[in-house]
Symmetry: C2
Subunit: 233 residues, 2 copies
DNA sequence: CGAACTGTTGAGAGGCTTCAAGCCTAGTGG
DNA sequence: CCACTAGGCTTGAAGCCTCTCAACAGTTCG
């Protein structure tokens, strides 16, 4: 599945920007760089699949990767998106379980594969690395718990508004206030946990209420305070 | 809020059973024991509240603690229950955030408070401790992600059946197949993410279908395979 | 240029929630 | 000892939010 067409540029494989690796000493960082394997992945490529055995984790140095679980009738539930500076597949790896999610490229991406033994080496040799790692997992756990509460208690309308705001926080807007991540209606539905048709209807309601503007998959924010009110946060 | 009426027994404050501390050397374990503070808490006591600052994490050595978030209109969303051998409050502590959940005793409990500096000391001095800690957080994150998928895709009926089976896994049954944890209908609803009335109606349907038997808050399992089928796992 | 996928809209059905009323149980105070 | 109260439990009825199904338009791509 892992098809690399062209090589990523030197710059696209730099791990120095990762907060996680900030406290490594020169030796550790060299070792990391020596043992990493970076590849460029086209949109649509599956990085790893639910149930597969992982040999390491990945650092996203470019692009966007969608992490999802497959639920009832193959319906996707999107857990999160990973972008530059974030790591994926570390959870199942640390638990030494088979992958419980699938990772798919939605924006041409460069990923660096870090073998499991390198991860273990870093945990053993540098407590600050472990500490950072702990903070990353804890942060993700917090988001997951927050989301459980939302999804259990809020209406689809509130959740969609919240998801839009969340996307706004995590992915930049251009100078026109347009969201710089392109998702299908179905993907939005799979984030919110609803039917595609519901997302479509609600989006056009938001549009009628002058909170957003739509052009295909482009979403432009017009009235964020009101959107926040709808989201009920 | 933290009212200790009677002292816990020596045996009730032992941390030697905790998997998390298995790899500590004698010095580390002594330090841990020296710096812990154990108390006994009555049913209904709040250990820590959403938004409060935490000074350490807690090891549950006896009893059951309910961890929940407060959502819309004060409606509780139960995140999990912690029982003997489990730790609580570590997530917000590690992230150095204010508590994002509330912990309340639902079965008379003994908790040992471990100060933040002790946690940091252990992370610095013993990589195996950090590794265990990472595995605990990862395991909780996995459960959270699974639950997001369920709650987003399954019906209330399926989720209730699943919650019952989950409780069966985590809390023992007596020799009559009766669940050894006593929850109100409202608490069940707050786990499933539904209205109390819905839980009541579904429980009596399950009873009519001879899958469970009810006596007040006691739930007795009669047909687990069928319950599993309803849960759709 | 058709095939496959995505997006849109309408109609109907049904699962759940909400509101309301009443019952039961346990704990309290006269 | 018993009425009383509060909180939990139960049931019914009404209604709405959301899903599903279905048909069709638009878009992309080989």
């Amino acid at each position: 599945m892992r098809i690399a067409i062209k090589r990523p540029t030197e710059e696209e494989t730099q791990l120095s920007g990762f907060h996680l690796f900030k406290k490594l000493n020169d030796d550790e960082f060299s070792k990391l760089n020596f043992e990493k394997t970076c590849s460029l992945y086209k949109k649509g490529t599956v990085i790893y699949r639910e149930g597969s055995r992982l040999t390491g984790f990945f650092c996203v140095t470019k692009g966007i990767v969608k992490i999802f679980k497959t639920g009832i009738d193959g319906k996707e539930q999107i857990i999160r998106f990973a972008k530059k500076g974030e790591i994926i597949a570390y959870r199942s790896l640390l638990s030494q379980e088979l992958a419980c999610t699938t990772a798919k490229v939605i924006d041409e991406a460069v990923l660096c594969h870090i073998p499991y033994h390198t991860l273990l080496f870093l945990i053993e040799s540098n407590w600050q690395f472990s500490h950072h790692m702990l903070q990353i997992v804890c942060s993700e756990l917090r988001q997951a718990n927050d989301y459980i509460t939302d999804i259990a208690q809020k209406t689809v309308r509130e959740r969609l508004a919240e998801v839009l705001l969340l996307l706004k926080e995590n992915f930049d807007l251009d100078n026109q206030n347009t969201l710089q991540i392109s998702l299908t209606r179905e993907e939005l539905a799979n984030m919110v946990g609803t039917a595609t048709e519901s997302v479509i209807r609600l989006l056009s309601e938001f549009k009628q209420d002058k909170m957003i503007e739509l052009q295909g998959r482009k979403i432009k924010f017009l009235d964020i305070p009101n959107l926040r009110r709808v989201a009920n946060i």
